[in-house]
């Protein structure tokens, strides 16, 4: 019926007493997200929006049964907060802040992989399973329950794609924002394979962009999938990005232009789309 988060998820917010944390917690609650509490070290015992605040994630998990967490904290505190959540038994973690140090994200990823936890972000707009739960900062206006999953790097593209799917009547199972940071908690292939296992998801729209290496990494997953994948890549007309020295070229190979990425995905069996309006047309053609 959805991936990563649904109406049964017990969601907590790390940084629930902060400005952004509180603002978006209220919005998530309004959407019907099952938020059970949050943390703010040194503010344990308070209430925010009638939800209990704890000093540590362990206390929050012990007292509320939280299994999903959304982080709203300044970037420099994200690494410890993420590791805290992972070690406390949180199974799905959404990292909203941007500008997280890259080495920190490598530590977070290592901890997440070691304990089988899915992390998305940083610099993500979040994840929404329409009608069930909205984690992060996504506007609910664009989304409606339905049968297509989306995964993209950028928040704004997530909104546009969902808006398109909603307006054309397909609706969405879950929409995942991977985040815009250079090193991310999860990659396209990992999310695509989760959609593949979800019966409710009849197709997936994947939106990448110029730069980075995560789109290319998705081709192996797409080849194994039965669920059709539609692919959009931003930056077809953008000037090529800067490479990270010789070492970058040696490790990551030729940095794919947007067109290269689109070609690679198409070659793996994805259905390319140029504009949003092509998405429902392609879905119709595929009989979704």
């Amino acid at each position: 019926m959805a991936i990563l988060v649904d109406k049964n998820s017990r969601v907590m917010v790390q940084g629930i007493t902060g400005g952004a944390g509180k603002f978006h917690t209220e919005r998530m609650l309004e959407y019907g997200t099952n938020i059970v509490g949050g943390t703010s070290p040194g503010k344990g015992g308070q209430d925010v929006l009638s939800k209990p605040v704890f000093d540590t994630v362990v206390e929050c998990v012990d007292n509320t049964g939280a299994d999903v967490s959304v982080i709203f904290l300044p970037a420099r505190f994200v690494m410890e907060a993420a590791i805290e959540a992972i070690r406390a038994g949180i199974k799905f973690l959404v990292v909203i802040p941007e500008h997280i140090p890259i080495h920190d994200m490598l530590h977070v990823r290592r901890e997440a992989v070691a304990r089988g936890v899915t992390v998305i972000g940083g610099n993500t707009a979040g994840v929404i399973s329409p009608g069930q739960a909205n984690l992060g900062i996504m506007p609910d206006i664009a989304f409606k329950p339905g049968r297509v999953g989306t995964v993209s790097r950028s928040g704004s593209i997530t909104y546009y794609v969902a808006d398109t799917l909603t307006q054309s009547g397909y609706g969405e199972t879950t929409c995942v924002g991977l985040g815009g940071d250079p090193v991310l908690g999860s990659t396209f292939d990992e999310i695509l394979l989760k959609f593949e296992e979800d019966d409710a998801t009849k197709a997936v729209v994947m939106c990448g962009e110029i730069g980075g290496v995560y789109e290319e990494r998705a081709t192996d997953a797409i080849r194994t999938m039965k669920t059709p994948v539609l692919a959009m890549i931003g930056g077809i007309y953008a000037p090529p990005g800067k490479r990270m020295g010789h070492a970058g070229a040696i490790v990551e190979g030729k940095m794919g232009t947007a067109q290269d990425k689109l070609d690679a995905l198409t070659d793996a069996g994805a259905h390319p789309c140029k504009t949003f309006t092509e998405i429902p047309k392609t879905l119709a053609k595929l009989g979704v």
Partner: protein, 398 residues
């Protein structure tokens, strides 16, 4: 944050990676003074934040102070890929018998640090990697892993560092790796690491890129004189203005002023304009949750750009709230005034509030909105893109 060669070498020195005694100069006279004090033949190296410096004539030798001054006069006039030469690094000339390559970077797809080494260093290292990948040696490590001397020694041996220098070579590799981790680097390269005629290893060039988002952890960099800097080539006056205002902005050669939301649609919106036959005049990113002031400044950049015939606005409110967006547009309309047509769309988070703000202001002063065509969720973004292209064609008369 990319460092200048001489800054990178300062870090190398701290980590006991052997480098020459270098001095920096900001003018031909300073070059003359410094070289006068030195007994040996020198090399003058232009300090710019870009590669290809040697091929562009940015590295010259000189045998005495007079020659050095003449050479420096030429170098200070150079622009290398748009970067003016403002600093010259003066070093003793080395007699080089072998060039190696050493680098450490992040393999983002595998979430690993990678140490890269080759016995064939120099400017053609990428060609070596592409044509003879067996001449490139890599070792991947987790972010938590130390690089031990024995592994470094095995690498040093593979790239052909002479037996008697293996321990030194291994120490350089370990220290480079430690520097990478200590300073939150994205990239560190020694290219070339040279073997000199007198049998010593020397890091003849440095390339160090640090993670801007982690610089707060390294206040000691400031003490070394290493501060945040602009890393692009020479900017247009408008790019300079945008940079001063903290707005990511790039001038392009079209006539449609792009006024987008996040970077994601910032990139894809440009594609859309192209798809419908138009050409964007710029790339711009509002950043997450921009204030009304920032929104207003973004519009100023476009309105004052004579190349811009039409402004294309798109806002899907996520963390960036539509009410703030509307307030910013209104602030611009009131304080500055819009001199060209703008077609825009606004939806998402707090969009009703945004619409209310527009409606109220329009009621008060319809004149403000005479160039503004504002759409909501009912119009697909493709339609807005098309309208912008059409408007531009009409306005431009071309």
């Amino acid at each position: 944050m990319r460092l200048y060669e001489f800054e990178g070498k300062e870090l190398f020195r701290k980590f006991k990676i052997p480098v020459s005694d270098g001095r920096i100069a900001k003018s031909p006279d300073e070059v003359y003074e410094i070289v006068s004090e030195l007994k040996y033949p020198v090399v003058l190296k232009s300090q710019v934040l870009t590669g290809g410096r040697g091929k562009a004539g940015g590295i010259k030798t000189a045998d005495g102070a007079n020659e050095a001054r003449t050479v420096a006069e030429q170098l200070f006039k150079l622009k290398i890929k748009g970067f003016p030469v403002e600093t010259i690094l003066i070093e003793p000339r080395l007699e080089i018998t072998q060039e190696y390559y050493l680098g450490v970077t992040i393999d983002r797809a595998r979430y690993k640090l990678v140490v890269i080494a080759s016995g064939e260093g120099g400017v053609d290292i990428e060609e070596t990697a592409a044509k003879t990948p067996d001449k490139i040696f890599k070792q991947s490590l987790g972010i938590e892993d130390d690089l031990y001397s024995f592994d470094a020694l095995a690498i040093a041996k593979k790239i052909g560092i002479p037996t008697e220098l293996l321990k030194n070579g291994a120490a350089i590799i370990v220290n480079l790796y430690n520097l990478f981790r200590k300073y939150d680097a994205k990239l560190v390269e020694i290219n070339p690491l040279v073997l000199t005629a007198d049998g010593k290893l020397n890091a003849a060039d440095s390339r160090v890129s640090l993670d801007d988002d982690a610089v707060f952890r390294h206040p000691e960099l400031k003490e070394l004189g290493i501060e945040k800097r602009h890393e692009e080539g020479e900017m247009t006056p408008r790019e300079q203005q945008a940079t001063d205002w903290g707005i990511p902005y790039l001038d392009l050669d079209g006539d449609i002023g792009m006024f987008p939301g996040g970077a994601g649609f910032g990139i894809m919106g440009n594609d859309f304009i192209h798809y419908y036959g138009g050409k964007p005049a710029n790339f711009m990113d509002s950043g997450g949750g921009p204030s009304p002031e920032r929104i207003a400044k973004m519009l100023v950049l476009l309105d004052e750009n004579p190349s811009v015939k039409v402004i294309f606005g798109a806002r899907f409110g996520g963390i960036s709230r539509c009410d703030d967006f509307a307030r910013g547009v209104l602030m611009f309309l009131k304080d500055h005034g819009l001199s060209k047509p703008m077609v825009m769309r606004m939806t998402g988070n707090m969009w009703q509030e945004g619409v209310r703000i527009f409606d109220e202001a329009k009621k008060e002063n319809p004149e403000l909105f005479k160039h503004v065509e504002a759409h909501g969720i009912e119009t697909p973004i493709e339609e807005i893109s098309k309208k912008a292209v059409e408007l531009a064609a009409r306005e431009g008369g071309n």
